[in-house]
């Protein structure tokens, strides 16, 4: 059965907050992507290592006045709140009342998730970049 035959309910970030509070536990690895509650695949060691390596490299290269977030939520649009492996945002960690919305750089470490990261997330990140005009 092709997916196009079935249209599933999409969620907004506001609804996602309620779902997080009422239904999801700390062990649930979920991201809101384009209105869909996507389940993240478990991380293997190469994936985790890539994140650590990327974190160190970006920190060294980074100008003052920004910081790196590791697998933390960012706001893309009213229906998307992904948790990229690495995201560079301006300012310091205390500068945000809500999740940051305009990352300067997003990094995903991909092995089994390559197709998802390329097509699905790639398109979402591109669209978010265009709509914020950055």
């Amino acid at each position: 059965m092709s997916e196009s035959a079935v249209r599933t309910r999409r969620w907004t970030r506001v609804e996602y907050k309620l779902i997080e509070t009422g239904f999801l536990g700390p062990g649930d690895k979920i991201e809101l992507l384009g209105g869909q509650l996507c389940v993240s695949e478990p991380q293997n060691n190469p994936h985790a290592t890539a994140i650590s390596l990327g974190l160190e490299a970006i920190r060294q290269a980074l100008a003052l006045g920004s910081h790196v977030r590791v697998q933390l939520p960012i706001v893309l649009d009213p229906e998307s709140e992904p948790e990229p492996d690495l995201a560079v945002v301006s300012g310091g960690p205390r500068d945000y009342a809500d999740h940051p919305s305009q990352p300067a750089l997003v990094v995903e470490a991909a092995d089994s998730s390559l197709a998802l990261d390329r097509e699905h997330k790639g398109s979402l990140y591109a669209r978010a970049c265009q709509s914020t005009g950055s």
Partner: protein, 192 residues
């Protein structure tokens, strides 16, 4: 659909009922929980709503007062599925109901306009897996009634089950529900 891309979070019936109680959905939203997925129902055209009324009328007469003939109401199919078939028939009078959402169905009917593929493959497999003994699709495009019976395991089906017996009845023929074998319903009465 079992290998959705990307893989999305699945819901149980208990969670779905809680979402409804929380007021998460808008009044006009038509949703069904199908194997953990919250599926949006297509809007109904006039031929669809007419067929719903026709099937309802014919089956109420055919089944009589000892049966609940229900229109677009939720049924408890399994832990991850709560569809709202166009018509569902369950044993017992309405006032004597023990389950608000029946789980043992005698007959399920879907009216298919644009949803034929979904109703045949996806819902057909779900209903077969739940051992619904009698499943009808009013196929508006071809003006036939498709009658599915005898659920059996089938590895090639969406949910591992399908119906062994598939009949396509045209307007000149009659159909008798498995649970009401004495009723003879003209297929023409079910078609808009």
């Amino acid at each position: 659909m079992q290998t959705t891309y990307p893989r999305t979070r699945r819901w149980t019936r208990v969670e779905y009922d809680r979402l409804i109680e929380m007021g998460m959905f808008q009044p006009g939203e038509r949703l069904e929980l199908l194997a953990g997925n919250l599926v949006v129902r297509e809007p109904q055209g006039d031929p669809h709503t007419l067929a719903v009324e026709l099937v309802n009328e014919a089956l109420r007469t055919g089944f009589g007062p000892e049966w609940r003939v229900r229109v677009q109401l939720p049924i408890a199919l399994n832990e991850e599925s709560e569809p709202e078939p166009d018509i569902s028939v369950a044993p017992g009078r309405v006032r004597d109901r023990r389950e608000a959402k029946p789980s043992r169905l005698a007959l399920v009917v879907e009216i298919a306009e644009s949803s034929l593929a979904l109703d045949r493959e996806y819902k057909g497999s779900l209903y077969a897996r739940a051992r619904v003994p009698d499943y009808w699709i009013v196929n508006l495009a071809d003006r036939v009634l498709e009658v599915y019976r005898d659920p059996r395991p089938d590895a090639s089906a969406s949910y591992g089950w399908s119906y062994r017996s598939v009949q396509s009845l045209s307007a000149g023929e009659h159909v008798s529900p498995l649970a009401a074998p004495t009723a003879r319903v003209p297929v023409a009465d079910l078609l808009p």
